[in-house]
Subunit: 403 residues, 2 copies
């Protein structure tokens, strides 16, 4: 219960409490940290300056990174304290003036993203893409069940929800012409993913184990890893995706702490063949995060995160198995979340089967890939404590014409 | 001429003046900017504080990034001013106390690296690797002559010259066994490359042209892109190199400004077929940078940068062709520099032809790939103004056993 008078069932209630960064429409307004609660934002810098919470000054910074670097004891203590401030009526008078309507703030990218890694951990997505991109080979590459395949994306073009996405241009081969041409992508797509935000750093030369996940990862964002399929298919051999991905990756403005997702843990799928020891988990679990993909207002898919073959703990262990270090603010994404059914896929490539089976949206418009002016919104929910529901996202982006 | 009394022919004379970051062995010493001249380092923060140069306070920062962000007019003005300070006898008394012996400072990573991109732009290297990794396919992929192939590497594991490199572990398939095992890489290699340091930012959604290279790129470092070939060959399909590269990338401590390399410009190779318009150059040039690869004291190769098929201006235009933005401190590397002869290759994979043709070092030791305790040093020179020679590097790294 809270003194805020939130509507029953609010998925951004006190049981959620995601963190973000915002500015207000005021000349000279600088970026500041906030916690979202319902349709309000609590100004965390002001809360710390007022002496109501203590986080070594990190809540008064312009990105979440310094707070992330403090580690789990601080994350838990601050969350517990904010919960008290928002539920104990005794604090209502002090805290109320530090809340402002969500509609009046402008969300900013919550992190200075260090490195951005994108995995490929849905067996249904990998199978679908293999069939579409490499019809003459086995759908799953031989390494797929042995390691969580991943690659580095462009950290500098991770943008916050609400940022317009300019249609990328690049080299294309229409109809597999012998020579490429240069022009706007005609196969602009989305990838619905869950992103994991690294809190505490690891040391170069030292691997993390799957058990280190809880100490090193702070929380979760939704990710739309926009993809230009025609640019990607021509460029990606032999060194992987590059310009087909690097033009924009959208993330939700509010980072949901893992602490808010404790009740969302579910067993992860059994793996076969058994994985190598550094990828084993004594407590193997996924999160029951249910995503919705909304295209111009129509829900076109409901990708289920729970069924991902590789878990975020395995991804972290793999990412560091060679001694690579992580830093506060590093982001790694699950890869496109697709379930086994057509209505559960996380990309339009799969939804329309490479464009061969267009979909009709609720307003009657027919689509294979994204057209200029289209808007895609990702949202998600997961079970919260005590029968509540935790909201994630939204991640919204509108496609604008090539410059 | 300079009042410093440098030896004739010093490749780090006033005609070079590379920038770096260093600390001194003094408790509480913080990182500060320096310019190397001969075997001395000029404390740039102290020079600016003394009012001898003006760079908006950026020379008093702990990384080069704020200075890089100022742009070419500032880069040129500061370089011109430092040249006056170090050559006009009238400044000797004021400037001398701000110089310290190179041997007494500890170089640090000069940049906070934003995004790190690695290209693949030597036709000889790509041909060699194609033959070794994909013996059943054409050596050059079909896209190779149409675009400078590149991928994102891990920015957080870019380390400064002198940092030990821990032998990475990872999934390996000895003798192409049906299932992988986990263990230390047995095929640890180097890649000798030239890295380009981005100065000024570009705007998301807007491509840079090849002509923008001079305004956006500040300078050059040598790069050793350490590579674990056995990890790489198992993991890299279909999304590219990941853990085979991400454990460490070494860069030289001193960033040589492009201004110091004006006399090193040479025509770049003619490209066939002609490239698409966004990759054309009105003034197409490479740099006559001559690299030496030294393995435990023996010069084993002399890779020539001048012959690279794709130029750094083309790489920048390609990198941003989809609207991806660049930031001050972004780093992009040329890819392994290999010439057509065995003594000109930039990797041991090529030098020993996949390990099949080991080399004998001057001390009689025989090597295919790197062994624990081995040291690799990259150095380079290029023509400077007025018949001088500009030194680049060194990049030195010693291999230590797996943790």
């Amino acid at each position: 219960m809270t003194w805020l008078g939130l509507p029953a069932g609010d998925v951004f209630g006190v049981h959620n409490l995601p963190y973000g960064v915002f500015t207000v429409d005021d000349p000279g307004s600088t970026a500041r940290l906030g916690a979202r609660v319902g349709d309000l934002v609590l100004d965390l810098g002001a809360v710390e300056r007022a002496g109501l919470v203590e986080a070594a000054g990190t809540l008064q910074c312009a990105t979440l990174n310094p707070f992330l670097a403090l580690g789990r004891p601080y994350w838990t203590a601050v969350r517990d304290r904010l919960t008290v401030l928002l539920t104990d009526e005794a604090y209502a008078e002090q805290v109320s003036p530090l809340l402002m309507p969500l509609a009046e703030v402008r969300p900013r990218l919550p992190l200075a993203v260090g490195d951005y890694v994108d995995f490929y951990s849905s067996i249904d997505h990998a199978t679908n893409v293999g069939r579409l991109f490499r019809p003459d080979s086995p759908a799953l590459p031989p390494n797929w069940r042995h390691l969580p395949i991943g690659y580095h994306g462009r950290a500098g073009t991770v943008v916050v929800s609400g940022t317009d996405v300019v249609r990328p241009s690049g080299q294309l081969r229409p109809g597999h012409a012998p020579s490429p041409v240069f022009g706007p992508s005609g196969r602009l797509d989305v990838e619905a993913e869950v992103g994991f935000v690294v809190g505490t750093a690891s040391r170069l030369g030292t691997a993390l184990s799957t058990a280190d996940f809880a100490d090193h990862v702070f929380g979760v964002v939704l990710v739309n890893d926009w993809s230009a399929r025609d640019i990607q298919s021509w460029e990606y051999q032999p060194l992987g995706p590059f310009l087909g991905k690097s033009f924009a990756t959208s993330v939700s403005a509010w980072v949901v702490p893992l602490d808010a997702l404790a009740a969302a843990r579910v067993p992860a799928p059994t793996q076969s063949p058994p994985v190598l020891p550094y990828l084993t988990e004594t407590d193997r679990y996924s999160y029951d995060i249910r995503i919705e993909v909304v295209w111009n207002g129509t829900v076109v898919s409901r990708p289920p995160f729970a069924g991902m073959y590789w878990t975020p703990a395995q991804q972290l262990a793999h990412l560091t198995a060679n001694g690579a270090s992580v830093r506060p603010g590093d982001l790694y994404a699950s890869g496109t979340v697709s379930g086994p059914q057509r209505g559960q896929v996380g990309s339009f490539l799969e939804l329309t089967w490479g464009g061969a089976e267009p979909v009709t949206l609720a307003d009657g418009r027919i689509r294979s890939f994204l057209e200029d002016g289209d808007t895609v919104t990702l949202t998600a929910t997961a079970p919260g404590t005590g029968g509540t529901v935790v909201g994630l996202g939204e991640v919204v982006g509108r496609v604008v014409a090539s410059a």
